[in-house]
Each structure stands twice: as C-alpha cells, then as structure tokens.
C-alpha cells in the first residue's frame, strides 16, 4: 500500500464522520443479517402454501408481518429469501465485473499503443448497445439459469471499470517510482501486482460499491421481465413483479419488496459516495 498508515486512518475517520454513509452501512448490515437469519428461524418456509391464508394483509398475530401472497405463502420469509438471491447476484456479478475490468483496463493502460487501442475500441463497441440489452441477449443465448445470470451480468458490467482502471494505470505508469521498479528489472506481473494495483485500488473500491446496487437493479429488471430468477426461487425483482399484478387488491405484496429494494439502493449509494469522499477529499 502506498497510502501510509495515517492517511488510511484519516480516510477512515472521514468516512466515520459521514452520517449518511454510516446510516447506510448500518442499514445494509441489518438487511444482510435478516437475509441470513430470517429464512432459518421463521415459522413459515419459502414454499409453505395454504390457500385459506391467501392474500392476507400484514398482521403481527400469526407472524405474517408482511402479509401473504396469492398462494398463501408468507411474504416476510419470501422477501428475505429474495434478499439472499438479489444481494448474492449483486455481489458475485460485481466481483466478476471487477476481475475482468481490472485485468482488462490494467493491461490496456500498461501496454499502451496498439494493444490499448484495440482493447479500448472493443469496450467502445460494447458500450454502443445498452447493457441490459447485451445481458438479455446473453441470457437468451445461454439459457435461463441462475448461475448464467450471475455470469451474464458480470460479463457485461465491467466496461466502465476497465475505463477507470486504464486511466489510473496510465496516470501512474510514468511516475518516478515506476521507473525505479523497472530499473531494478522487476518482472511485469510483479510490478503490476506490487505497484500498479495498490495505487489504483481507491477508485476501484468506490466504483465497485456503486456497481453492486446497479447489478441488483439489473437482476431485478431481468426477473421482473420474466428473464431472470424463476420460481420456485425468488428475488426482489420477481416479488415486485408478482406484487405489481395484484396491486389493487394486495398492495403489500408490492410495497414491502419495493421499499426494501429502495433502502438497499440508497444505502449502497450512500456508502459508495462516503467512500469516495473519504478516499479523495479533494472531490468536495
């Protein structure tokens, strides 16, 4: 790490002083905790259907805190089970995008010249098609399977990441300590992992945090359209879809997953903005 110990501590202090970011962090922690715990301990399971309990409004009496759906399944457990899938897809797709984007951008920026030109032209070309369309094309071609959805989202959402990393790599490539590293003949992979990656990590972390909510929205959009997660599994997008169809008679089916999704989005955005301000105080 080139950032000194005290610089990191300062950044941490700045982050801790950011009220919106801290609230976001706490909310995310609560949602993740509930997503882990609720499906394990709740008296109803994901698939416990009972037609005489169909479309019950929320009540505390019989543990249907969020009401029930058209099949009489408990919505509270379904919403947090959906949270598991939505958050997992958001995280895993982001990790995939992170790996591809960093590798692509660092290679292009490091080698420069024709390699850079060709690699970035490829990125420009993919940019010309809206990303959701690319993902839908991939899902159409590859078939509809939850692992392929992770992969399809990750395989498309790395474009901006690669541009950021490339810019950062070019910026530090010509700095003096890089000349030093080259002068003592360090092999390229070692220069990349030892000097380049630690120096570009700040913007990458910030962008990754902001990419998670984007990927959650992408997954939800796909599931909403019927092209993503399928029953018997569920996700926030699928729950919102089911809620939207019974809007006039059972509004709770839309409201709870939608509110939870919105809180998650706002929290991730607040944390990401907080990280950016903490890591780069000049921005404000």
């Amino acid at each position: 790490m080139s950032t000194s110990h005290s610089a990191r501590r300062q950044a941490l202090a700045r982050f801790a002083a950011n009220r919106a970011a801290m609230v976001g962090l706490v909310l995310l922690a609560v949602i993740i905790l509930l997503a882990v715990i609720v499906p394990m301990v709740w008296p109803y399971g994901l698939e416990d259907a009972s037609l005489e309990r169909a479309l019950q409004p929320p009540s505390f009496a019989d543990f249907h805190w969020f009401g029930t759906d058209a099949n009489g399944r408990d919505l509270f457990v379904r919403v947090f089970y959906g949270a598991r899938i939505s958050l997992a897809i958001g995280l895993i797709a982001t990790v995939i995008a992170l790996c591809i984007g960093v590798a692509w951008g660092a290679t292009a920026g490091w080698f420069g010249g024709t390699v850079d030109m060709l690699m970035m032209r490829f990125v420009d070309i993919l940019y010309a098609v809206p990303l959701l369309f690319l993902i839908i094309v991939l899902v159409t071609v590859l078939g509809n399977n939850i692992f392929l959805i992770f992969a399809a989202i990750g395989a498309v959402e790395w474009l901006t990441m690669s541009r950021i990393v490339r810019g950062q790599t070019i910026a530090i490539r010509n700095l003096e300590f890089m000349d030093g590293a080259r002068a003592i003949a360090l092999p390229t992979p070692r220069i990349l992992t030892r000097y380049v990656v630690p120096n570009i990590i700040g913007p990458v972390v910030v962008y990754s945090t902001l990419l998670i909510p984007v990927n959650i929205i992408v997954e939800s959009s796909l599931s909403f359209l019927g092209l993503g997660v399928q029953e018997p599994l569920t996700s926030w997008g699928l729950l919102i879809n089911q809620g939207a169809t019974v809007l006039d008679s059972a509004s709770w089916m839309l409201v709870f997953p939608a509110v939870l999704l919105a809180i998650t989005m706002l929290s991730f955005n607040a944390v990401g903005d907080g990280l950016r301000d903490a890591l780069d105080p000049r921005g404000r």
């Binding site: 010309a128 990303l131 071609v141 929205i217 919105a262």
Partner: protein, 307 residues
C-alpha cells in the same frame, strides 16, 4: 469541423458493422433453436421449416443475405409471430416507443436542467437540500417500482388515468408511462446540472464578469449556462440508452404495443431474428444520437474538436 465530423463517423460506422456481425453469429451458434419446442418435430417437417427460413444454407450465405436484407429494412422472419416479419413488427412498435422515448427525454432534460439550476442557485439552502434528496431517491428507485406506484395512485386510487394499454394513443394513455420513464433521468440530469453549475460559478472568468459589473442575469445566461450545459449534453447519450432500456420495462408494465414488448417476447421465445433485429435497430439509433451529440458538443465547445 469537417475533419472532426469525419473522425466521429469513422468510429460509428465500423462499430455498427461489428455489432451486426457479432449479433448475427452469436445468435446462430446459440444452443436451442427456435424450433426446439416441447413437441418433438418430425425430422421432415423440421427440415422443411428450416428450409423455409433459409436455415439450411451455409452460414456465410445466410450472413450475406441478412446484410443484404438490412439495407432494405428487412430483418428477416420472426418465429414468435409467424405471419409477420421482424421489419413489420418493428414498424408497428416504433411509433409508440419513439413517442414515449422522445417525450421522456425532452421532459427529463427540461425538468432536470430546471431543478439543477434551482438547486445550484440555492446552494446548501432548503431548496437545494430538498431537490438533491429527491434526486437521490429518484436515482435509487428503479422504474419498475415507480410505475406500479404511479398506477396505484393515479389509476386505481384516484381513478384519473387508465391503468394500462395504449387506447387511441392519446395523452391520458401515455402520460404515466412517460413520467415513469423520465423520473430517474430527471434526477440524474438535475445532479449533473447542479455540480457543473457550481463548478462554473466559481470559475475565474465568471468572477471577472461579475467584477466588471455585469448584471447577474447576464452573467448567468452568457457565461455560466453555456459551459454548465456541456456536461449535461454529453450525458444525453447515456440518457437515451437509459430511456431505451427503461422503455422495455415500462412498455411491459403498462402493456404498451412498443418495440420493447416484442423484444421481451422474442427473448423469452428465443426468437433470434426478432431479438437481433431490435438490438441492431437500437444500436443504430444510439450510435446516430451519440454522433449528433458529439457534433453539437464540438460546435459548442471548440476545445473538443482538436482533442
């Protein structure tokens, strides 16, 4: 300027060709053909079907025939809607999608600019705080949540507007879809406008303009707005892409007969011709639009021409 336009064109046209080629071959090598339905087809029937769609020809021939067709707005047949061609379906849906998309973009640009300017002029004041908070929410809440809530409010509770459908295509049918489509973009444009206004307001030449006693209104219109508008304009490309993406979802929610619905139907049924045709159409539209934005940018900001 001529050289600048030529340079932008020399990037746009190959991009489009590569997208067409890539989507053609991607769809052809894809597993699961359009005739892999639940029922097993008799091999003879299958061969006949494939022959009638030209799928028995060598892939190179298919590709050339496809390219040739594109020049005549012929995207080939659709397997989801056997009695219609993809070109016909697109021609049917395009007016609806265009009307939605263009209105939403116009609305987003006007309201976004207005909100952003108001926020910047009241920096750190109450209005600024309120607008920026709404903008954060607007960006965080996706349109498949906004749309049902709007329907619930105006369609079901207040009974003011129809819940879904295109009807005769009059205002009351497309008002809610346009709002649902525009809201996230209004929020994004407001944010960009605000930050670029604030940046320009603290620029040296603005201080100079004020120092020489220029009236504030004139400073704003003459010096601030022009350069504050540039980042907003270069964001119009992404706005168009977002509106195109959003219209797929909004058309689905409000059951509007636009291109987006055909796209989703095509994707669900693995109708390669339909999906490919729509991707190519959208890519063309977006590349053209980005070209226009680039040209306008070069015209407004001479610095961009030499870069």
């Amino acid at each position: 300027m001529g050289g600048y336009i030529f340079k932008r064109l020399s990037i746009g046209i190959p991009t489009l060709l590569i997208i067409i080629t890539a989507s053609f071959f991607l769809m052809r090598v894809a597993p699961g053909g359009p005739f892999d339905a639940e029922v097993d087809l008799d091999p003879l029937v299958r061969a006949n079907l494939e022959a009638s769609y030209g799928l028995d020809q060598p892939i190179g021939t298919q590709y050339l025939r496809f390219l040739d067709g594109l020049t005549r707005f012929d995207f080939g047949p659709s397997t989801t809607y056997p009695d219609r061609s993809v070109g016909e379906l697109i021609a049917d849906g395009l007016p609806v999608t265009l009307k939605l998309g263009l209105t939403a973009m116009l609305l987003a640009t006007i309201l976004g600019l207005l909100a952003g300017v108001i926020a910047a002029r009241n920096r750190n004041g109450f209005l600024d705080g309120a607008i920026m908070m709404l903008a954060s929410v607007g960006i965080a809440v996706p349109n498949f949540v906004v749309a049902p809530i709007l329907t619930l409010l105006f369609g079901i509770t207040l009974q003011l507007l129809p819940v879904a459908g295109w009807g005769d295509g009059s205002l009351r049918y497309w008002l809610l879809p346009v709002i649902a489509l525009a809201l996230p973009q209004i929020a994004a444009i407001a944010r960009i406008t605000r930050s670029s206004m604030l940046e320009t307001l603290s620029a040296d030449y603005v201080r100079t303009a004020r120092a020489k006693g220029m009236p504030e209104r004139r400073v704003l219109w003459r010096h601030v707005m022009r350069s504050a508008f540039l980042p907003v304009m270069s964001y119009l490309g992404p706005v168009a892409a977002n509106v195109v993406t959003g219209s797929v979802i909004v058309e689905q929610i409000f059951s509007l007969p636009g291109i987006g619905r055909f796209f989703v139907q095509g994707a669900i049924n693995r109708d390669y011709g339909l999906v490919m045709g729509i991707v190519i159409l959208y890519a063309t539209v977006l590349i053209l639009l980005n070209l226009l934005v680039d040209i306008a940018y070069g015209w407004l900001d001479p610095r961009a021409r030499v870069k």
